[in-house]
Symmetry: C2
Subunit: 331 residues, 2 copies
Amino acid sequence: MQKITIKELAKLLDVNPSTISRALHDHPDISQVLKERIKKIAKDFNFVPNHAAVNLRNKKSKLIGLILPEISMLFVPSIIEGVSNYLNKHNYNLLVLSSYENYEKEIENIDVCIKSNVDGILISLTNQTKNVDHLDRLNEFEIPVVIFDKTVEQVQFNEVKINDAEASKTCVDYLVKCGCKKIVGIFGNKNLSITKERAEGFQSSLNTYGLKPYEIAYAENSEQAFQQCKKLLSKTNDIDGIMMMSDEIMIGVNAALNQMSKEEKLNKINLVAISDGFLPTFMSPPIPYVHHSGKDLGKMSAELLIGLVEATSPVTAVKQLNLGTFLVDEF
Amino acid sequence: MQKITIKELAKLLDVNPSTISRALHDHPDISQVLKERIKKIAKDFNFVPNHAAVNLRNKKSKLIGLILPEISMLFVPSIIEGVSNYLNKHNYNLLVLSSYENYEKEIENIDVCIKSNVDGILISLTNQTKNVDHLDRLNEFEIPVVIFDKTVEQVQFNEVKINDAEASKTCVDYLVKCGCKKIVGIFGNKNLSITKERAEGFQSSLNTYGLKPYEIAYAENSEQAFQQCKKLLSKTNDIDGIMMMSDEIMIGVNAALNQMSKEEKLNKINLVAISDGFLPTFMSPPIPYVHHSGKDLGKMSAELLIGLVEATSPVTAVKQLNLGTFLVDEF
DNA sequence: CTGTTAGCGCGTTCAC
DNA sequence: GTGAACGCGCTAACAG
């Protein structure tokens, strides 16, 4: 079955192609009767507009680039879901690109986006990325950008993140409420602003309780978190609370604790993580977590971006959105 | 900076647009010198062909639909990575759709693909999908399809899967080698052919050792696997081996075992899972697994599909590809 | 209210 | 070896 075109429909009804086009777009000029006749036949013949033609005409690609630092199983899927969900609904397609935590690759990906004529870009930075100068080129092409989740400390771009300081505070509040005094925080890559902000939030929240971090460690992945945790615990055995800034870290820490508790008697340690919520419930025992939704984050970012893409006049004001979080500690 | 077009380049060099087009495509008619001059200036001016125009001309969309049963963190990300990687390299874009384990939604997604003029479809079926009649429509539109991973027992479509029977056999071999006699298998949704084939492989492999499954259980998600496992263990305490057919199941089983071992003394139980390999290494202790690569699976599927899409003459022969697996039990 | 015309950017056929 | 012209499918401007 070949796809029918406007031209063919026009011939069928013996009207002009543009009449068909207008009717299908509910143009006020077309009479109600004709409109319905046209719509009916279009439906009967299963008419579907040719995107390529529409895009050529409108000078739009209806394509959004999604540049991720890596495609890991942690957090990323829910972001993709949130983004693709929103975009599909608004008739946009998604070009998913991974930078493999490599700055050069990130630049290359931006290039791919430009070459692909994307209408806009959603980007989460690699942990090697120190600034966003490479995003400046996009201005020349008038391609709107939204940086989400992983960003660096700059203010000239539209951003969507979770409220990092607040999330850390919630973690600390929880641990303190559990009676913890010697609290360790384990965070991710130091380059990332989410790391800095969560670590700072951790520190300052402890201060409000008159406490200091017992130790702060950084780990780039689960394996490093595993090692860091083991090192910390073998150095001292009076740690009574650990905050973990991500699923990735949590997995490593959990494995380390389980392994060590089999080898020697450990004091009870209260845990809390910042997480999307699936894995913590299946740890043993389940780990309390400050919940943030990757899906919502993705949706929010997509929404902001599409707003920019479809703005009739160029938007200059920069928006920085923060997503709320909440504690989950009942299982 | 506006994007430059062929027409503008032509004006610049005072030649005809078609000359530019031909030179850029290495048409033999164009003289070597002109070709190089044209290529140079095209590069200098950062010429990028307009996809919409090319696609309109070629009647292609360069879009591939990827329909997933759900977007979970388990397995799906690596599939997306494998697929998108291959497609990007071959100048195709990806339309990611989730069916949310809902048959109606799956049909709807196929419709979206048709409306989006995709050149081909990669689909993994929902656990509600009982047959593939709804894929027949795609023939009318001459849209090639590859079913991967989750499929039903039919043979008229191109398929890419892991070698399920072999993977189960490897699991059983391992458990038997560990000395297990009373082996339980926990599998996924019964509708899926991967469930059937893995369960059958489990059973027949045990038979070759003169053993029978001690029990076979089915679970649709981690939570159910958790419950099933607890039920089994509370019924009897002489289970000595468990095979789990996926990460999803493994997570639930692992949580159940950990919880129960804290409440009462359990006999040693050997575990083995079929998995992509990230999570098992962070269980405590690490769980041996039969490794299959979602990335490879995705790549292989994409490769097969693109072969069909770009075939000059319609391909009628149906291919069924199987991906190999191997045991990982050293950590 | 409807038809005519033109052009988005590209690639191909035909002519020279 | 190169140019001219046309058409892919759609829509917006202009006419009537």
